[in-house]
Amino acid sequence: MSDATEHSVSSRSLFDRYKWLVARRFSQLFILSLFLLGPVSNNWIVTGNLSSSLTLNVLPLTDPFLLIQSFIAQQDIAETALLGAAIVIVFYIIIGGRVYCSWVCPLNIATDIAAWLRLKLNIKTSSLFHKTTRYWLFLAILIMTFISGTLAWELVNPVSLVQRGIIFSLYLSAGVFFFILFFDLFISREAWCGHLCPVGVFYHLVGKFSLVRISAYHRDDCDRCNDCFTVCPEEQVIKPALFGKLKNIDPVILDGNCTNCGRCIDVCDRNVFKFTHRFNKKELLKSPGDQ
């Protein structure tokens, strides 16, 4: 695949081409800065970290995957944590399961940088991992949690290490960010988010039911430039929706692995994609005479 993002000079504005990327970056940094506001300026709007937090002293939020692990480790589940996890699950069922991955998780910044540098530096190393690795890893972690009776995965989970490291000034933990960045960049393509991360697998399961989805609404207009496939972190999710017309597949992307990152919307010069909800199966048909 060539460096597709630059293969043609786009007629669209900079805003149109980067709006969702900028919004996502803003969201990721905004969430981190809310957590950092407390320790830095003593304004405790949000306390804790992404594993569990308390906002404005009233809203508890807890990582539901962590709580499930705690349950599997045969521990009592406290009410506060249960309520927090329920709120989080409902939120992601509405907004898109893996929205956590693309709009919240700080590691996404590392893997985005790695993917971008791969394009720029034309690094072609393929993936070391089979595409099913993350599901096996997910399963293995649940089994290990059951056997050990502890949150074994939390000892090494890069997702929580990095966010906790940044928020609590644990420098080595935070440094795992660069480990993931360089691993994705030089050793294996899309290794972390695309092949390994069990946290992503969990949110992928939530995403199977989620309401907000992206649709290849204008798929008749697709000129097969491959730009969307190049930027998509989970490119397999696009194909059925974009090219499935002959097989009567709806244009809305229902795969739980779609992270609702919106990069496909940004890069598509033909405006094929848009945000919609999962029940919107409509598509805009090519108007006659339009070429």
């Binding site: 804790g48 970290n49 480790a73 944590a81 502890t150 074994a152 000892l155 929580s160 290490l161």
Partner: protein, 262 residues
Amino acid sequence: MISSQTRTNRRRFLIEIARTVCGVSLFATGLGFYANKAHSLPETSLRPPGAINEEDFLGACVRCGLCVRDCPYDILKLADIQEDTATGTPYFNARQIPCEMCEDIPCVAACPTSALDKSLTNIDNSRMGLAVLIDQETCLNFQGLRCDVCHRVCPLINDAITLEPRHNKRSGKHALFIPVVHSDKCTGCGKCEHACVLTEAAIKVLPLSLAKGKLGDHYRWSWKEKESAGKSLVTPDTQHQYHLPEGLQYDHAGKGLIGDKK
């Protein structure tokens, strides 16, 4: 008929899956061993008040740091990845900074999980560890000096640590005031270890599992049995016969040798 192409594809697929499953299993096994090692909390790391037993704690604590944030004295911290304490879990080191034993126990109130036991409402009932006067050879009070610092800083002074007078054999005429920790009162806050004036503390807070002995279940203390039975269970005690000069008595209970009443 299965074409040779299909067979090759299936073969390759199976090998790839086998490779992935083996790799993941290896990783998970390694993680299991690592997690098992992480069970053993370093003896200098103390958990916040109300922490459930270590093994369960590692299954219940989500490493959110809410207890750390709510500690008004910034005593608690989360373990970084290179530390011996399980990654991300809260702890404090008594020698560096001990627990202030807040009456409202904000760390326990902040915990969203069952890792810190909500039924702990009186901080005096917390058991973060147990202070042990571990080195009698350097403890100043054991040398006959009146350091007493561990005793004086103890939030439960005269309950958790008492000073027990003993004969000073070295000088022959002074007393030793020996600090004695009582496990039914000591919360393990670590004030004594923090305050110990020695370069290396002679009194240290240790995990209860390390600090406490345990009597065999079959053991009976004869004097307690005697008390509850109201009489000796073996040969009855006979009155001790003293052979004293005329006019002298001996009070066994404490007064010792006494002259005849005049």
